[in-house]
Amino acid sequence: MEVMIALMIATLVGSGVYLTLRARTFPVILGITLLSYGVNLFVFVSGRLSLNQVPVVGMSENPSDPLPQALVLTAIVIGFAMTAFLVVLALRGQGEMNSDHVDGGSDGESHKEDR
């Protein structure tokens, strides 16, 4: 199971990194979203995996680690706020510069792509 989870985290981070390196805002937003999934999972599993051990007093004999869960809970919400902020930043960039390139500048210009 641990191998599976590690593979999932690896894929999420890898895909996230690849998309973050794209030139247009929409894929970058997708990339950041994927990255935050990966990071949240990473932090979550730092409490190790345990089945059916809900960290509620009285509901399990050997409760799982509640601390990473509390951390990730707020991380999810803040991650959403950050994604929203990014989206709006991208929209503002689109509105101001009429381009969705991460470096700004108007479309049709040759960007410093393949240097």
């Binding site: 199971m1 641990e2 191998v3 599976m4 590690a6 999932m8 985290i9 690896a10 894929t11 981070v13 890898g14 895909s15 990194v17 690849y18 973050t20 390196l21 794209r22 030139a23 247009r24 929409f26 997708l30 990339g31 999934y37 999972l41 990473f42 979550f44 409490g47 995996l49 089945l51 051990q53 809900v54 960290p55 509620v56 007093v57 509901m59 409760p63 799982s64 680690d65 509640p66 601390l67 869960q69 509390a70 707020t74 919400v77 991650g79 959403f80 994604t83 929203a84 902020f85 989206v87 709006v88 991208a90 929209l91 503002r92 689109q94 969705d100 991460v102 410093k112 393949d114 240097r115």
Partner: protein
């Protein structure tokens, strides 16, 4: 009395002159305002000075940054007393002199302020009892001297000279800092007292050669020792009072001061002898030779200063106690005669309008009084008997004869010393003869020159009187001060010596005679020498320095231009490349052998995991098919929430699920407004580079995750699990952590949420976007923005969803749920109405603005925290109790509940603020701002 006040006084005094200038004080009043606090400092020093003369060392200390070993520790012993007197005494004379030197239209207030800043910094250098503090003041002298040298900032020479001085002495200061840090490593403390006592340990340490080189680099740059001497002549672009102060008595003396200060710590080794003596000898001869060929009056004095500093350095290098005393003695003597000579040169410059000695001749007839003063000071510089320079020079000659370190080559030292003496006499003779005699002045800008104002001569008179007094009656004047200063320098007992004019016929006397006669002879042959010098290729230090500086600037520019090419993608790639490098070099197979037993893999988990992996990869590959990408990314989100369910985190699963809904809405809005086509523009190289980075970073993080999951650990969570019920009054430990144990963190987090929402609101203000009519393939967006089925189903859902939300909120303390999740559920329920029925419809039924909700939530959370102060508990301490409600029965009420309400309100307010405002954009776009809310059931709500 506390010594730190003494050091503080000049700094405080720096504020007075600019203030006086603001009130249009007269020039005399300005000078008085500048002199007031240094004079006070000098007066306050009398009491501690008595104790020092009696043999005490006065210490005072205040803690500043104890964690760094940096204390405001000051000491006044013989050496610092001598220097403090030079700094304050000559400083006061300089202020008096500058009163007459500066023209009426110059910013005298600023000048005095800089001068006092420098004075304070210099006073700090000589009285610091902490090595780090010493370096701080050392750098302050470099900075304030930069301001002083560049005071005539309209003059390009002044600017360049100031920059060169700052670069050279600043670099030396860095080396000194490194050396001092190493000393601290060896000694285990930055206290100067302890470091001085650990001289043996430092000299025995393997770091000693490095320490010595670094410290000497600082000293040699500051004291203009060969080959770092070139900045000093260029610093002569400064106003003459600055040269008289900084370049005779103080700033350049900081280097030799440090030689004296660190003498017990670093001296006594062969390495010290070789480095210090060699540098001193080279500087002594080179400076004297160059001084002879200067035609600029101040240039002559500058090179002569370099030469005399070399002499002092050479003496310290000899490693004998008597030589160190002679060095200290020469520091005093040089300060007095050189400061007066600079002032005399300033007077001549002032009265004739030039400093070129080929034009200034025969001034004896025009300003005999100044001439006498200057001639006496020059004679002291040459080492003529009955003047102070003679005494220390005799000691110098005698000491060079004592050294046997060079073995059979020992004769080199006295020979070099005599040669230095010859040249010194020659340039002193030139200063006297060329300026005051030697025919008539040639084409002076101001003619005829006359005596300066009465009080401008006073500082020169005082200093020249000191030269004579010390020269004639050394035992009555300087002996006491020299004895304590010498004792402090050696850090022990004073050697036997006699300050007297006549020691009988001996070798040093012969050397003096040779120097005097030889000097006059050399001067008489000057025309021939000048012709020879004119044929030599010219070395322009300024040009070389400027070229070096430009090369550095070009290199830095090229480097940063390559790294900072304006492409964010490149920056991110660099960042990730560094991460990859770390991962590739640090990760190894040893990480894959954890000691924890693995959980078995089952079919469901395998399926879900495979789905997530495939969906994530699809998102990455097909990101240009935006609808597909959004769908696949929502699959990823769902599987992630399933992972949370499976591995005992119901709170997280609920949160992830509700966030997933709003995230997808957000992405659809982004898709709607951003350009329909994401053009494929990455070349093969870029794609393969990015693929490499993603594989390495993703793989590395995966390996780390695996290594972490399979290794045992100690968690602090036991505390939370045990205390959740008795301490926090709740059984859902995650929620208790959020609202109670780590409530302050949560408070910070909802604040961030609120700020993000406000930021989005501000960014969206006045934003105009055009919405595309069709998607990438040309399909038009659905006209029916609010499908009837959705509208009909969503409305009855609202009260149900709100009820669920209240339930989740109330049970949150004991079962999965709480403010965050309840807030998200409420937001989703309300947003569904926006999507189904449109912004306009909602606007009639909901408050238009959500900022007050965010503010209210934060306020509530904050007040809950503050309220615990009223009961004498720390911020956000929670309390709880049980009450009996009719029908419901026993029910728990916790103050954390109120805090959770604050969280709830903030989450609802922030989420709606973000998404509702985004949704409004489409309305603005269609109908213009005025008609935004008119349509009830029309308009493209949310673009969905």
């Amino acid at each position: 009395m506390n010594l730190s006040i003494l050091v503080l006084l000049p700094f405080l005094g720096a504020a007075l002159p600019p203030l006086a200038e603001r009130f249009r004080a007269s020039r005399t009043l300005l000078a008085l305002s500048a002199a007031a606090l240094p004079a006070l400092a000098l007066a306050l020093m009398v009491a501690p000075a008595r104790r020092v003369i009696a043999g005490d060392t006065v210490l005072s200390s205040l803690q500043w940054l104890p964690s760094l070993g940096l204390d405001l520790a000051f000491r006044l012993d013989g050496l610092s007393l001598m220097f403090a007197m030079l700094v304050l005494g000559i400083g006061l004379l300089i202020i008096l002199y500058a009163r007459y030197y500066l023209a009426a239209n110059e910013k005298a207030g600023r000048f005095y302020a800089y001068l006092l800043l420098f004075m304070g910094a210099m006073l700090g250098v000589v009285t610091s009892d902490n090595l780090l503090l010493l370096v701080v003041f050392w750098e302050l002298t470099s900075l304030s001297s930069f301001l002083l040298i560049g005071f005539w900032s309209h003059n390009s020479g002044a600017r360049k000279g100031a920059r060169m001085a700052l670069t050279v002495t600043g670099l030396g200061g860095l080396a000194l800092l490194a050396g001092v840090l190493l000393i601290g490593q060896v000694v285990g403390s930055y206290s100067l007292g302890e470091a001085l006592a650990s001289g043996d340990a430092i000299r025995a340490s393997g770091l000693y050669p490095l320490i010595l080189c670094l410290v000497l680099l600082g000293i040699f740059t500051k004291s203009a020792q060969f080959p770092f001497h070139f900045w000093l002549p260029h610093a002569m672009a400064a106003p003459t009072p600055v040269s008289a102060y900084l370049h005779s008595a103080t700033m350049v003396k900081a280097g030799v001061f440090l030689l004296a200060r660190f003498y017990p710590m670093l001296a006594g080794t062969n390495l010290w002898f070789d480095l210090v003596t060699l540098a001193g000898m080279a500087t002594l001869i080179w400076g004297a030779l160059a001084a002879l060929f200067q035609h600029d009056l101040k240039g002559l004095l500058a090179y002569s200063t370099i030469s005399h500093l070399g002499l002092i350095t050479l003496l310290f290098g000899l490693n004998t106690e008597l030589a160190a005393v002679a060095a200290v003695f020469h520091i005093i003597n040089h300060a007095t005669f050189k400061a007066s000579l600079f002032m005399a040169a300033g007077i001549i410059d002032h009265e004739t309008g030039t400093r070129d000695m080929r034009r200034i001749n025969g001034l004896w007839r025009y300003m005999p009084y100044t001439a006498v003063l200057a001639m006496v000071a020059s004679a002291a510089m040459a080492g003529v008997p009955l003047l102070n320079g003679f005494l220390s020079k005799e000691m110098f000659f005698a000491e060079t004869l004592q050294s046997d370190r060079l073995g059979a080559m020992s004769w080199v030292l006295p020979l070099g010393a005599t040669l230095g003496g010859v040249l010194s006499v020659a340039y002193s003779a030139r200063f006297i003869h060329d300026v005051f005699f030697n025919g008539e002045p040639v084409n002076l800008p101001k003619f005829p020159p006359h005596e300066p104002p009465r009080y401008m001569k006073v500082p020169v008179e005082i200093l020249v009187a000191l030269c004579v007094a010390v020269g004639v009656f050394p035992a009555l004047t300087v002996a006491g001060l020299l004895a304590v200063a010498g004792t402090a320098t050696l850090g022990g007992t004073l050697p036997e010596y006699h300050l007297s004019i006549w020691h009988g016929f001996n070798l040093p006397l012969l050397m003096s005679v040779v120097a005097l006669v030889g000097g006059v002879l050399v001067y008489s042959q000057r025309q021939r020498l000048f012709r020879w010098h004119a044929r030599l290729p010219e070395i322009n230090a300024n040009l070389i320095f400027e070229r070096a500086m430009q090369a550095v600037a070009r290199f830095a520019g090229a480097l940063s231009g390559r790294l900072r090419n304006g492409s964010l993608q490149t920056y991110v790639a660099w960042l990730l490349a560094v991460v990859s490098l770390v991962l590739l070099t640090q990760l190894g197979p040893h990480l894959l052998s954890g000691e924890r037993a693995l959980l078995p893999l089952d079919g469901v988990a395998l399926l879900a995991g495979a789905m997530l992996i495939v969906a994530a990869v699809i998102t990455a590959i097909l990101h240009r098919h935006r609808m597909t990408a959004i769908m696949s990314i929502s699959v990823v989100g769902l599987v992630v929430s399933l992972v949370f369910v499976r591995f005992s985190a119901p709170d997280l699963a609920l949160t992830q699920l509700s966030v997933e809904v709003v995230t997808v809405m957000l992405l659809i809005l982004a898709m709607y407004f951003l350009p329909v086509r994401t053009s494929a523009e990455s070349g093969v190289f870029r794609v393969s580079r990015d693929l490499f980075l993603s594989v390495v970073v993703g793989g590395g993080v995966g390996v780390m995750a695996f290594a972490m999951m399979t290794s045992d650990f100690n968690s602090i969570s036991g505390f939370f699990l045990e205390n959740a019920k008795p301490g926090g009054g709740g059984t859902n430990v995650v929620n208790v952590i959020l609202v109670d144990f780590r409530g302050f963190d949560t408070f910070g987090e909802i604040t961030v949420l609120g700020i993000a929402a406000m930021g989005i609101y501000a960014l969206l203000k006045d934003l105009k976007l055009t919405s595309p009519g069709a998607d990438a393939t040309g399909r038009p967006w659905a006209r029916d923005a609010h499908p009837l089925v959705l509208v009909t189903i969503s409305r009855p859902l609202l009260p149900l969803a709100l009820l669920v939300s209240v339930y989740i909120f109330l049970r949150g303390h004991n079962l999965p749920g709480g403010g965050f999740i309840a807030g998200l559920v409420t937001s989703v329920a309300l947003l569904l109405q926006y999507v189904a029925s449109g912004v306009g419809w909602m606007h009639h039924r909901m408050p238009g603005d959500y900022h007050p909700v965010v503010a209210l939530g934060l306020l509530l959370a904050g007040i809950t925290g503050v309220a615990s102060w009223l009961f004498g508990h720390p911020f956000l301490t929670s309390t709880f109790d049980y009450i009996h409600w009719p029908l419901v029965g026993k029910f728990e009420v916790a103050s954390a509940m109120l805090f959770d309400t604050g969280v709830f309100l903030t989450v609802v307010g922030a989420t709606l603020l973000m998404l509702a405002n985004l949704g409004k954009l489409s309305l603005l776009d269609d109908k213009g701002a005025g008609a935004a809310y008119d349509g009830d059931e029309t308009g493209q709500g949310g673009g969905a």
